[in-house]
Amino acid sequence: MLAYILRRIAYLVPVLFVLTVVVFTFVEMLPGNIIDTLVGTEGNNDPEVRKILEKEYGLDQPVYVRYAKWLYRTMQGDLGTSLVTRRPVAVELMSGIPATVYLAVVGISLSMLIAVPLGTIAAVRRNTPIDYTAQVASLAGISIPEFWFAILCVLLFSLYLGWLPSSGYVSPFVDFWGSLKFLILPAAAIGFRQAAYTTRLTRSSMLDEMNKEYVDTARSLGFSERKVIFKYTLRNAMIPTITISGLQLANLLGGTVVLESIFAWPGVGRAIFEAIIQRDYPLIQAGVLVLGVIVVTINLLVDLTYRLLNPRVKLG
């Protein structure tokens, strides 16, 4: 197992290499360069000044040298300075992480709370009205765009019923109960959508497990149906569900851009979105890089957990 873990970590190197190259290339491919911006503001287009500036910013060096230097700085935690706020990019991003994690974790938990019971019941009561309802609901959930669903929720619960605020954020560390009010709508929007996927998955892996021989054995030994399902099949069926939920969590940490901007949720996704609107390239670059690293790391952890939960999987 240790050898496997080490090998998996070694596999991260090329993955991170591709990630950094893409992110670096992105800034390289932007039209113009930083000198234009600097010279532009000074109103000074003297070629001599340009040369000095180019040297100062290292733009006279070949691309791979600049990539190596950028990588070296990045690995030391120096992600650059925001063009808009003039604060270090790392600080800007870090300040968004708690909100994003809070939303993603609650959203995924909600999704599993809905999906696991629903998927299990649908599988056990297969081809009954409950099953059909679950299937139709999850198909609908997959097909509804999350932003539209979010808008409809706001329309119903904030504008018509007035029960919940339409947007905003209070840190749970400041006022836990107060923060819940703001959390409910975005978390529900995430939860329902992810639950649509997870329900289908739970249902089909439950059905898979229930067709296996050990279930017949357990039944023929006279175990109650309840025991067969809860003690044996559900446990096995949960393995893919947990894996997928982990991957969803990773994706949400990087992909809640839309919901974060609808609900004015001050997370990393919204920070990146605003950086795009304001053309704050260092922030875009660092944001995508940081989120990419987070996703890769969580994917690795999920994969390792999967092997732990399911020792039958061959390490390969």
């Binding site: 596999y11 990630l19 609908a140 997959i142 765009p145 089909s204 989120l291």
Partner: protein, 315 residues
Amino acid sequence: MADLDSPRIAYLDTTQRAPAASPRLRRLTVSLANAWHELRKSRTALIGFIMLALLFAACVATPVIATHDPVKQSYRERLAPPSAQHYLGTDRLGRDIYSRLLWGGRRLVAIAILAVTLGLTLGVPYGVLASYYGGRTDTIAMRFVDGLLAFPGLLLYLLFVTLAREWKLEGIYNDLILVSALGFAFMPEAARLARGSVLVEKQKEYVEASRAIGDSNLSIALRQILPNIVSPLIVNATVRLGYVILIVAALSFLGLGTPPPTPDWGSDLAAARDYMETAPLIAAFPGLAICYTVLAFNLFGDGLRDILDPRLAER
């Protein structure tokens, strides 16, 4: 499943009744009848197919069935409710929503199809070749794919879209950037899927046989194995089309898609948010259109999977 054979007889009859003008036409009729027969096995696929047929018909017929110019503003008729003049009412600038939906859908579906085709064109040969040659080639090729897969959700598209904005690309060029971003993003998934199927397929006898008669590696990989792994790819591509439509809609909802006044379901929906209280219907129609389209692709993809892999259908 007692009447398993009766539809078969029915389809044989259709082929006999079909005018046997040329052998090619007859072959086409037979294969269409076969496809229809297969399609009827799954209610999901059938519903999805009908929904898609309607959608494509609407996309093709847009210039004929649209009643107004989608970008023509009319200040006297702002936020009008549905009427005989404007089937679905008008938006905040007095533009006909029905016509905007049609034109927007035509563009959206075209983008999605182009993007998925691009992803398949890049990803499938990549995966097939990587896995067919195996060994070190495979390992290196797949590490690269893993690197691309590491990009979370929307972020890759956000990078591309930002570049497109900075280069001041407009109209068709902007759409092409979007298409290539979505295509590239689909490439790793298509490559992995193709690779997985090839790993199974290349153990089979027919590959051995082709090798025995001296076919080249490239020809075996692309001409023998590829046609045998098509079904999982088709299913995946169909579901992916729905997903791509959601992504494009989300991007333009954020204001990062095609700039106005181009009709676009996502940005029309975003613009309608401000009138949510006074005229909620404007936000309803683009939303429903997106749901319908994505649902159609998902239903068809789901049903197709059941038909092509009957083992799964029993679940």
